[in-house]
Amino acid sequence: MLTKKQLFTRGMLDISPHMLSVIPFGIICGAIGVELGFHPYLVYAMSFIIFGGASQIVFLQLLSGGASSLVAVTSVGIINSRHLLYGAVLSEYLEKLSFIKKLLISYVVVDQGFAESNKFFKKNRSEEFLHYHLIGTGCTMWVCWQIATLSGIVLGSFVPEELGLKFAIPLTFIAIVVQDLKKLDHVIVMITCGLSSLLFFDAPFKSYIIISPIIALFVAGLLLRLKK
């Protein structure tokens, strides 16, 4: 049995390699917000209140492009709706927690944290304090995101744009799914999702980000049926 502290530390360690892409991206996000002409406090408030990577940039870009607040808020909601799927997966491991703890832990559920904690959970189902791993990944992400976006806001885009560091984001997610390329069913699901996301990229409110996972999960369901 691992202690709470050991699990928390393990979570921190498991997510920390992803900071290689998260920190430059956070700096870029902060800098873009200020460049678009928004008040620095507002740009920072988003990192605290929304705490949702790309959705923050989309929100500001829409507003500065003249879109209504309703459109901007809806887009953030749709982009972040993928968390519903993460929650559905995590609920199995968090079932024993009290309602209040579930409410608190939810705030720190992020893409990379979900991915790494889910991998850990699958291998260590019997651990009693599993959720400390998720708190570890989530808090690490939270702290780094706050610091990164703040530095972008204060110092401007001191990360040279020519480096194209936004490209680190797809790379970070490649690192997450690459081992599943060993399994044919997962490859089919990934390709379905990827191609759908390109096909539906222009769908309103950035909805490709939830439409393509739904199509891919549907295909996963069909594959499961074929396997039997």
Partner: protein, 105 residues
Amino acid sequence: MTLTAIIFAGILTYFTRMTMIALISRDMLGDKIKAVLEYVPSAVFPAIIFPGIFINDFGTFIEMNDPKIFGALVAVIVGYFSKNIIATISAGLISYWFLIFVVFS
């Protein structure tokens, strides 16, 4: 005005995170749904990966000889064999930089 919108966007985002964790109990999901949920990472992350590679900042498709495609392929190969996140990201970035700064400059 903008702050109000940010607060609404934040509440909405929080609900996407909280709903399934706090309001759904695992018994409400059948075995079939649970089996499908095993595929969530593979079904979600390519929707971030593919557009990040194949679509540029202006929302249009990149050329088939774009350095990002090469960088992503290198990342996949290095990631597959090294099983190391830092190696995967670095390999992708370095091969991408090599193309844009050395080969195509």
